[in-house]
Symmetry: C2
Subunit: 263 residues, 2 copies
């Protein structure tokens, strides 16, 4: 039973250093969840041979452009490629209006239905549930309302010893309040925009350093930490990873195109 993550983008704010903007694809038993959708995400999906028609759920963490400007193009392409299946979209309420005005301006009436579920930004919110999986959102600490997402297998298959889980936490300042939501997660993705020498800038902008991401992973007893949302100032991100590993050795960089099997 597949439970794997494909990283599609790892840069913060602007595309740079051959890194694209935030987007992750979770394959949970062949049910595909796209998490954030920066500009160029549809190009990345094509590059890594993901059929956009197979995406059933899209989750948008917050309305900073580097996390959602690629969505309208993706929806438009799904439409042009003849999609008929419902798409489930979980996002801040205002995204509905942003989509509608752009479809209206181009006289486009999508030939598929979007079921829009607005995020709330207080406590745990159930977004999706079936007999195998639960998906919840929870609030992050950012300059606009932002949610993290936690995917947990329930009733895991016999050949998997533990229920597998994945948490996506971007964008956020250092925030211990998220720990109860992500305790013992198998794979934690946590933003790590800056190195520790810019901890003060990170705090001001409500972003995190790699070491802060590692501290959250340690306190949450995560098994593995993936860091990303790197500032464009870092051409090489190995130093960020190295800093994080001083606190949490099982830290890895979000490398675009890599597929991570979650255990």
């Amino acid at each position: 039973m597949t439970f794997s993550l494909t990283v599609l983008g790892s840069n913060a704010a602007i595309p740079a250093n051959n890194r694209n903007l935030s987007a992750h694809l979770l394959n949970a038993n062949e049910r595909l969840f796209l998490i954030d959708c920066g500009e160029g995400t549809q190009h990345q999906l094509r590059k890594y041979h993901v059929s956009i028609g197979k995406i059933r759920h899209v989750l948008i963490s917050h309305l900073h452009g580097d996390h959602f400007f690629g969505l309208i193009g993706l929806l438009n392409s799904m439409h042009l490629l003849g999609r008929r299946e419902v798409l489930h979209l979980y996002a801040p309420a205002r995204l509905q209006e942003i989509i509608d005005i752009q479809l209206d301006a181009s006289l486009t009436r999508l030939n598929f239905q979007i079921v829009f579920q607005p995020l709330c930004f207080e406590g745990l919110q159930l977004l999706f549930e079936n007999e195998r999986l639960q998906v919840h959102s929870f609030p992050l600490l950012h300059s606009v309302p932002a949610c993290g997402f936690i995917f947990r297998e329930i009733n895991p298959p016999r050949n998997v010893p533990l229920a597998r889980s994945y948490a996506y936490c971007s964008d956020t300042g250092y925030c211990e309040q998220i720990i109860p939501y992500i305790t013992e997660v198998g794979l934690l993705y946590h933003e790590a925009t800056f190195m520790q020498d810019l901890a003060s800038a990170a705090a001001d902008k409500l972003h995190s350093t790699a070491m802060e991401a590692a501290a959250i992973a340690l306190k949450a007893r995560a098994r593995k930490l993936l860091v990303g949302h790197f500032s464009a100032r870092y051409e090489d991100v190995e130093p960020l990873v190295a800093e994080a590993r001083t606190i949490f050795p099982e830290t890895y960089p979000a490398e675009e195109g890599s597929v991570i099997n979650i255990f």
Copy 2:
């Protein structure tokens, strides 16, 4: 004195066949005009080493997504990179609202001014003029209001025998009404979405075939024809070019990254 065009995208509707969506960059004596801005245009500008800070004018032909979904990301990046200079934007009026709602949702107040000039879709409209150059828009024949653009040098420098000129015509069905606006243009870019066997589909969708583009070039006495906005169905576009050349031998495909010096 530079008068050159860089092709940034050449595919219609969706990115495919390693071709990006519509965007051209005209350098007229170091004044940079970006013409259309499909999703991923900022990535293309970066790839071809164009500093986005140097773009002074953006022209959007119409509000189909493949021609403008990249604009909001480009504006956001200009802002994040500290732009202070005014940007001149010529586009269908509704684009203002589309930009504003997205900036508002992300609590972004641009640190530069956009001077927005709405396009009108009747006759020739002067968009920009200085002592060296005039830029006009004129109506095309499409399913939503759409404009072509014509750039003509005035008072050409001594070492240039003729006033140089460039016309951008996308998207449009076959439309002889545009000929007076583009007569004797040096370089005509005309969309060529389909091959001739799909002429009827082209007419239905208000797009052109490569041969129709060539017919316009011939009747307008253009010196050179550049075709693009290729349907994703054509992996190889040489057959389209070959068809066009039966009517207008000086036809070339819009190849991404190529820089064309206009004479």
